[in-house]
Amino acid sequence: MAKIIGRDFIPSDIHSKVTGRAKYAEDIRMDGMLFCRLLKSPIPHARVKSLDYSEALSMEGVVSVLTADEVSQTPGPSDNILTNEPHFVGEPILAVAAVSEKIAQDAIDRIKIELVPLPFCLDPLESLRPEGPNARVDGNTIVRGEGVKEIKWKEEDFLEVAGELPMGEPGVEWSYGELERGFEDASLILDESFVTASNAHHSMEPRSAMAFWQNGKCHIYGSTQSQAIVVPGLARYIGIEPEDLVYISQYCGGGFGSKGGAYPLMAIPALLSKKTSRPVLMRISRAEEYFLGSARIGFQGRIKLGFRDDGRITAVDLYIVQENGPNTGFGDMGSAADAVSLVYTPMAMRYRGISILTNTPPRGAQRGPGQNQIAAAVEPLIDKAAKRLGIDGVKIRRLNAPDSRSLYGGSRNPVTSAHLREALDKGAKKFGWNEKKSESGSRKGSKVIGVGVGQAFHSAGSSGFDGLVRISTDGKLHIHTGVGNLGTYSYAATSRVAAEILGYRWENCEIVRGDSSKHLPWNNGQFGSNTSFTMTRTNYVAAMDALQKLKELASISLGGSWEDYDIENETVVNKGDSNLSMSYGDLAVKAIEIGGRYSGKELASDDLNEMTIRAVEGLAGTGLIGVARDNLDRTGTVPALAAGFIKIELDIETGAIRILDYLGVADCGTVLHPQGLAAQVKSGAIMGFGMACTERHFYDSQWGIPGGVGFYQAKPPSYLDVPLELGWDAVDIPDPQNPVGAKGIGEPLMGCATSALLCAISDALGGHYFNRTPVVPDMIVNAAAGQEQSHSPLQVNTQ
């Protein structure tokens, strides 16, 4: 019976968060610190023709300038540190370090720069036209392994029916099953085109960074969701070995995918600090964040769905044109297709996709990258089919829902466990689906009730990383974790597994984290909802290693074999004779005495990551070391699944939406931390509501300048946009491939809410489907009044 797992606790960093003691990157001060400002491109695509910073450099107080020629350049379409060919508005060209931020900015203003404007692209379909603009001089798409290439569709590809996505040559493709037969067997076929808008991450903490060098090592205070995984990539940007980087990210003011790993901007203060031999702080402002931060990828897509009479999906044909931004972007479209294959388990499916480069703020992963856009696009269509077939919305989803035998993606991978049906059942019951459904469409004045259910998926677990724990001579357990502090408290929830295995009181445990000089193991990043699965495994294997060593040391000290020993109250006790016992603290002393693998002086296995090896070397001889790589079995994709239920009141005269009730249900395996999960279910939903109804990037089409560049324009939800209370629940069925049964969950908690809300809006409108996110008030008013929308069906960059 678990004593620690599944119980609430007070995370050790929360006190600092409520008192203001928590130090984020911009809170660090050092004597002699310089400030840096960036010269950024004012236009979406250009080449620097000339750059004269002599006057800037001669100004009093200006210490140094860093140009693109001085930083490492990787071939396109990678993200740059600084560049002479900016591909988006706000891309940094040059940086100035000065004694004050004002002087740095004044210096920037005195730089004489001549830019040659180059063609730019904001709409992927435009770029695919024979004469369309390319976002980069060498092409408009990325071909895996080959870099940037040009793909143009033929004129005739665009001649199809207006409003339907043209489908020329794809960049990638997969299929399974007999697609044509699937559609032949269908009694209802929907063929729908859709658009999902890109939107900014707008994490509350902009991506500021502070850097200094000491004893040949570069120290960086950065803002990242992750800790360990950041180090190699960031070291590469700076041009140093990972062991020469001290990376500190004890707190991160939100990332949502945009700060998952190392990003090039962080290298700027590091390189300026190296050049000037002084600490450098680079503050990024809210305004800048909208340009050089990150944004979700937008889709223009088309999906053909075949349904049997009973609602079972026979075939899916999916085409996605992905708006990738100018650089590496992300693999949203492939993830979207994989999600469709699992959430609806179609008997046959084909996926085609093409990722087109655009001169828009750089795209990156955003919570449920691909999976959540496709949930927003497809879930309302499931309702459309259900309505036509006369089937209930929960029933049709249940029928198509995956179980643990379902297969995933084009590769038809097995999954570790899937309980979406249970989530739907639990949610429908708790929400009172049938009763609420009976109110749908009821009207008071201009206000109509809408009810909706939505689902989403994300693969939520990885393996092969390392765990590291240390028992010190005072008997305390030190759990070293390379997990970042992104706000989910997963760094703590996963660390608690080590305490559980070793029978520790939580008060006697300490989590060591947030600073790479503190001997942290190689852990995966805090993205892709994977932490709960991946790092419970690493902490489990490290604790098991410590447990074995404790027993061995007891048998060495007290006689017998290690198998004769058990643990109890932080003591190792002989099973036959309880007088033969030793405390963990005394065994740590013994470990130091014997040395070898017990104290980390030697390593028993050769499969540990370099970072973990260095961490163990740093700790060697200070206690009993438990360390291991996670070699536990994992034979499939780990699905995180979620269902959301919502009731809204829609004002058809103003388009205003009031959410009356929301319940989210998670399939995340064993619940590790109920309070933390509750927070994620509810807050993920809130982010989802923003995606459904308000958030989007848009651009001035003549100049390509982003327009949604403030909170008031980009519109993340506020207190007043969401219900006073939200509900949550979890299926709580253990995953068989995790030692404590846990799976991740963060991402689908958003997508299920986005899609539920979109479904409820359509429900309130009596079955009007927008095939677009976000659904903004004027679209609702137009729909309610039977007016045409102000945008064409495939138009991107709408308000």
Partner: protein, 231 residues
């Protein structure tokens, strides 16, 4: 600027158009005095220098005009009452309170989320009323009592009931908006120690939380109110 509340997004807001004038690309967040501690002389020279005509960027694709940042004035030594202590500090005429707190008084608990009155991360109390410190000039708070998140614990180091309730309810996620949420809640409970959940959300609606932890913050404030009323 006294705090405004975020309204529900309505039709008018959604139709806000994107004119070039609206674009805040050449952001005004650059802070004139940052780090003058190390370089007062250089700084003053810089200020004078920046009064000269700015060369500007010859290429201006969009017709954006970069605001020139001339100041033409210098700091004045003032006394501020912050968290019950009188602090002497040099302040520029256009210096905002958040910058004075963060960069001159070492009080980094007050966060900068937007520096333009949109998010509430910088919320502090001025004579017990919540204000956006990014939109308040420091000179305006002379002879007034400023309270920041660092000033809430009592002399025994015990947390304010709002803070301890936020811990109990696991209210913060990333924590970046938390000091602002705490301060808005404290201001509310000073005025109304027995608010309804609806009143709490209206009072806190000027504090954005991208993590979306609203529900848990509301739980926290309700729980703190109960505790305060129990005495």
């Amino acid at each position: 600027m006294a705090k405004g509340n975020f309204r529900r997004y309505d039709l008018h807001e959604s139709q806000q158009n994107c004119s070039l004038e609206n674009i805040d690309f050449c952001d005004s967040s650059t802070v004139p005095f940052l780090n003058e501690r190390y370089s007062r002389r250089d700084f003053i020279k810089g200020v004078i220098a920046s009064g000269i005509a700015i060369a500007g960027i010859p290429y201006m694709a969009s017709g954006q005009v970069r605001p020139t940042s001339s100041l033409g004035s210098v700091e004045r030594l003032v006394s501020l009452n912050v968290n019950g202590q009188v602090r002497r500090v040099d302040v520029l005429p256009n210096e905002t309170l958040v910058m004075t707190l963060r960069y001159k008084l070492g009080l980094t608990g007050t966060k900068l989320g937007c520096d333009r009155g949109e998010c509430g991360a910088c919320t502090v109390l001025i004579d017990d009323v919540d204000h956006y410190a990014c939109s308040t000039l420091t000179h305006r708070v002379r002879n007034r009592e400023v309270t920041t998140v660092e000033g809430l614990e009592n002399s025994e180091g015990e947390l304010h009931p709002v803070q301890s309730a936020f811990v109990r309810e696991l209210a913060p996620q990333c924590g970046f908006c938390t000091p602002g949420q705490v301060m808005s809640a404290v201001a509310l409970l000073k005025k109304n120690s027995n608010p309804t959940r609806e009143e709490v959300r209206i009072a806190l609606s000027g504090n954005l939380c991208r993590c979306g932890a609203y529900d848990h913050y509301l739980n926290g404030v309700m729980s703190a109110a109960q505790e305060i009323n129990r005495g």
